[in-house]
Subunit: 312 residues, 2 copies
């Protein structure tokens, strides 16, 4: 991870435009869990990789992630991220859009350096899936007809696609057998879904200190996340009117967030979504059983517990 | 070009998010000159390429271009493009940002399909240079200390990098000798600079019908383009105060655009910038002399006249 961080620092520089490292450093140095690059490193080593390109791929994955965060905060008009004001607030939307584009391009430069066409194919496809998921979320947002299936599709796009690409390219660069590469993909996909469900739950149940942003943001932004989708499916007439007013029409009043929490508690949808997250984490763990036993396989499997530990 | 257009139409589709082809079609079907993909096709064929991947590369280049237009219009808060309302106006900034990201990713998928690592390297570098140029423009904007050298750097980034990549990859995919590849790069670079100077001139001297957007936009957005930079360098005290008020401080009043035009006419900076464009176009033409004579070489050379014809 030290090598990944060093590479990230080197490649986020720009000779000509000092605004670029300023904006990037703000986000990169705020920490973040560096979960995605860790997945790539661990997946490559778990498959016996002895080369150095997994560091490039890990930095690639983190750059793609950072670029999407910059653009997400513009799209969501967010003001806090990782416990700090967002870049779009500190600088402006323009800087966030363009620096995000720069990091995307840098990520492609990094992956091209590996010279591995299959890896390029996986990461290019993941990038397209991420953007598609974000657009789908944009149009599905505020629409009470959004089903759990659509939610899953959005989550697979905006979150799980990068997780599964991160683990899959680790296996590919290591030249692992096809069933191991497939297992790593399945693991990353399930882990990413668990991760996003947890994130969506914490938006309702977490404290600002734990989640590094303002709780209730999703409700205020009228996002249909899993506990809400489950609650809408179980709603009586009065509750349905409540969701229509607050989510569909966006006419929110003082106390609405608390009412939303009460409705979800009544139907047990926060607990049900929590169970879904645990199920996906268990699927992630199980997927890796096909890999040879090793400390790194165990670490990846334990990561599935870590991801859901925030709601346990 | 018919094959390129067909590929663009196929690849701009999205199974899951209909917003994507809507936004893309709005821009793609508005026409545009398709100059960049034409450069790639002609460069490849001028180097004797007999394969089919130049179509992929041409579509790649057009997707990168379309993605940057979507993001540019968000950054510049533009309202008209190619004679139509911009996507950010018709839909919203969010859609423009995310659909731009999608097209970027699609462009990488297309180039990966060629399986040519050198081509990938050139296009990844061009993408990074474009984003860097845009950020540089953002920070250089409104700063009267901007020199012609900085202007050239911005233009090389935001415009010429894609022109030169478009022509260079045509040569590379054709397996042309190194001096021909270099010549194609030099040609694209010079052509792109000429093209951008013309664009900047037309923003002052063109009519809305010819340029498909509102004339005077650059002035209102306080952009320091070549004729203004030349005028600032020659300004007396009163003129300097005018530029400080209108460009640096952005306190613009009725009639300021006309005054700016008068000042530039007095110093002959519109004519001087026009001469610069003609010089770059001549350099573009000359660069290709090293290529074997052919109809396509001649077409590329004639394109240098076409690019400046809008100000002749």
């Amino acid at each position: 991870m030290a090598a990944v961080n060093a590479l990230i620092r080197t490649r986020m520089a720009s000779e000509h435009a000092p605004r670029i490292p300023e904006v990037t450093a703000h986000l990169v140095e705020a920490g973040g869990k560096r979960l995605r690059p860790l997945l790539t490193l661990a997946a490559a080593r778990a498959c016996g990789y002895a080369g150095a390109f997994h560091v490039h791929l890990a930095a690639t994955v983190e750059f793609i992630h950072t670029a999407t965060l910059l653009h997400d905060d513009v799209v969501d008009e967010s003001t806090r991220r990782r416990g700090r004001p967002t870049a779009n607030l500190l600088w402006d939307n323009k800087s966030s859009v363009l620096v995000g584009d720069y990091l995307f391009s840098r990520s492609f430069q990094l992956m091209v350096e590996t010279g591995n066409l299959r890896v390029l194919d996986i990461l290019a496809n993941a990038s397209a899936t991420i953007a598609e998921g974000e657009v789908l979320q944009l149009t599905a947002a505020q629409d009470l007809a959004t089903t759990e299936a659509i939610y899953l599709q959005v989550v697979r796009g905006k979150t799980a696609a990068l997780f599964s690409a991160a683990t899959e390219v680790g296996g590919v660069i290591a030249g692992a057998p096809e069933d191991h590469v497939r297992a790593l993909h399945t693991y990353g996909d399930a882990l990413g879904i668990a991760f996003q469900i947890v994130d969506d739950l914490l938006d309702y149940t977490g404290s600002a200190e734990v989640i590094g942003k303002n709780p209730g943001d999703d409700f205020r932004e009228r996002k249909l996340t899993l506990p809400v989708i489950k609650a809408v499916a179980l709603a009586d007439a009065a509750e349905r009117a409540f969701w229509q007013r607050t989510i569909e029409k966006g006419r929110q009043e003082e106390g609405d967030l608390e009412t939303a929490m009460d409705i979800m508690a009544r139907h047990g949808t926060l607990a049900a979504a929590r169970q879904d997250a645990l199920d996906w984490a268990a699927q992630a763990r199980a997927a890796l059983e096909v890999l040879p036993e090793s400390d790194l396989r165990m670490m990846l499997q334990d990561l599935s517990d870590y991801v859901v530990s925030r709601i346990n």
